[in-house]
Amino acid sequence: MRIRLSLRAGLTTGVINVFVILLGLSTLFGNTLRGWLRLGGQAPGAWLGLVLVAMWGGAQARRHAGGKSPRAALAAGGAAGLAHGLLVALFIWAVAGLSERGYPIRTWLAQLTPDVVRFLGLGLRPAVAAVVSMALLMVAGLAGGALAWAADKYAWGATIRSTRARLRTSLKEAPPVRRFSGYRHSKRALIGVGLLVVLLAPLVLGQYWNYNLGTVGAYVLLGLGLNIVVGLAGLLDLGYVAFFAIGAYTVALLTAPAPHGIEMSFWLALPVSVLMAALSGILLGIPVLRMRGDYLAIVTLGFGEIIRILSRSDVLTSFTGGPRGVRDVGGPSLFGLDLSSELYFVYLILLGIALVAYVTSRLQQTRVGRAWMAMREDEDVAAAMGVHTLKYKLLAFAIGAAFAGLGGGLYASRNQFIGPEDFVLLVSINVLCVVIIGGMGSIPGVIVGAVVLKGIPEVLRQLSDFRMLVFGALLIIMMIVRPEGLWPSRRRRMELHKDESPPAPAALPLEREMEVDTP
């Protein structure tokens, strides 16, 4: 029984290793290590990766099957290493043997490049390479088992945890930190410093990062808008990109020389785009808001696609520019000064975010926001408590759409070009991800979510082809670890406590108020 558990751990990690090779992840790892450690080639790094996985297998075997004694740990690790090594060795033998005979493996498995075959073959004959790799992986399994045993015996985990806790408390207790957190306005000071950093950062970031920052900013605007619709009012809108498109097209068509040649000022076109988006939110809202949940999601999804298809349709080419989009969208200028550089747009978008965040936080904390949240929790009960649900749904749609329109207008003007392909379904889904990953109904959450969702792929750019794979895995991990979002919404404390509240009038204040309102 014990030995079977060990073998299973070895085989599972062996399968993982084979997949790692098949997906080309081991070469990626090898190349990254070569870059960092200045190694001669990718092979050492790649093998290190495989060995680490095999050690992990040994450690797993020790955890599930090993007893307390060191011998049992070694037996479990060894058995796992053996199974692991056999599997991987067979794979290497097959790959190396086939490629030696000139069989075109790459037609079937695209990631098995000659480079990969070379590092797997170790420069030896296939059978020899298989034996050597098996021995190596088995030793790795043994080592994994032994390490796991040692970690248990000397309680490394507990030591690490207690050291971390000690470090944290000593940091908190450090005189400067304590003095700072004791200071009454310390929270405000921190926020102030953060704001200052955000305001000054674009000056030193350079064009490339400012462009990315602007894109993140546009997503923050979209996220804050969708946050009202989905996060507060609980209306699942999968066609949200439509309002983004309407805002963008409004600014583009009003300011570009073609196809209409209106060439209106950007400052006039922007409010028009916000208005148009809000209006279309209401127009879409009227027919669909009697639907709930999944049905609403599907109808809005259709609406989003309709707007995109209309914008690229041949019939409307003379009006929307058709598949070729609209070029030379006008930029902002002030007193004859041209403000359409990346830098100015970053500040313009930051200004938009500040405005939208302020409006959202005001609404959230007052009657309108509470009505939305009540609808999200239970629509029927909200109606029974006096909330005119249709009206508040329309309001949520209109305000959410207005924010998206603002984002769209700024986006169109910054890019100076828009086309139907800027408004695909994926944008709606990305914005929804921003809201969910950040934390539904939370303003800082949406900002963090947008930075993570649009920022991480940029940071991961050096992983090239595997960027989206790693990104997807990160998203899954994030949602497992923090299902409520990265920065979930918090509630203010609202209950007035006796010492704070104004002295109550002598007898039964409740009854008296009742009489005032119901004579």
């Binding site: 007052t366 009657r367 009540a374 408590m385 006096g386 209950e495």
Partner: protein, 261 residues
């Protein structure tokens, strides 16, 4: 003087007649109970009064205002509030927020006022909060206002639901099985609390209840429904002796045994 009147109200679901030609009235300032076996149409009648269902036939009026064509929120604004058989609080909101939502129809500030922080809006918000705290105290939940509704114990949730209903400053309060799932001690407290609603706030209370001790203990009048039809009406004592009621509850044989002496 009746605060609520129903005349020949009928509600159908397809072929099923849930409420059939019901004549019913609630005198102002009274505590009235509606009883009947499961599926008799009691909650359906509640839903017709609050506008969640539309009655196909008949007329419902509250203080002389016809209710049939009104939306639920308009009916709440007139002064009718309710609770639910299976507690339906806004679970992801705090207790205070729940009561503030209850006050929705008595507040006026809109999106613009809130955004611009107009003085009127801010004053109203402050008053609403004060009032919510008073209601919290009134139902005995002081100190629990900032907890999420879902985290409150069962009995507290029942009382919070009533506080939320009181937020809309109702004249008529509809309680759907307020003592469901309570032990005898809690039931006793709830009965005292319902009486307090009438004496201290001057409310008219209309309740659905299964617990006969509660029904007989606090009601001025009791109405019995069976298969959507009113089979009896009267004081608690009259209802207890009514053979038709005994039959509906216990079956024909029992009715014969308990029959009129």
């Amino acid at each position: 003087m009746n605060i609520l009147e129903a005349h020949q109200v009928t509600k159908r679901f397809g072929g099923l007649i849930a409420v059939r030609q019901l004549d019913f009235s609630v005198p102002t300032g009274s505590i009235v109970s509606l009883i009947g076996p499961n599926g008799a149409g009691k909650t359906t009648f509640f839903n017709c009064i609050t506008g969640f269902y539309k009655a196909e036939e008949g007329a419902l009026s509250f203080e002389g205002v016809r209710l049939n064509a009104l939306r639920p929120d308009q009916i709440t604004a007139l002064g009718i509030a309710r609770t639910y058989q299976n507690i339906r609080l806004f679970s992801e909101m705090t207790a205070i927020e729940n009561i503030l939502v209850g006050q929705h129809c008595r507040l006026r500030s809109g999106a613009l006022g809130a955004t611009l922080q107009l003085p009127g809006s801010r004053r109203e918000e402050r008053q609403a909060l004060t009032r919510a705290c008073e209601l919290l105290d009134f139902v005995g939940l002081q100190g629990k206002g900032d907890q999420f509704a879902k985290n409150l114990p069962y009995g507290d949730q029942r009382r919070l639901e009533i506080a939320r209903a009181l937020g809309s400053q109702p004249k008529l309060l509809l309680l759907d099985e307020p003592t469901a799932g309570m032990n005898p001690a809690e039931t006793g407290e709830m009965m005292a609390f319902i009486r307090k609603l009438r004496t201290e706030l001057g409310l008219t209370v209309f309740l659905i209840e299964h617990d006969m001790r509660v029904v007989m203990g606090i009601s001025d009048r009791v109405t019995v429904l069976d298969y959507g039809v009113k089979i009896a009406e009267g004081t608690p004592l009259e209802i207890q002796r009514n053979p038709q009621v005994i039959e509906a509850y216990l079956g024909r044989g029992a009715a014969a045994q308990h029959g009129p002496a």
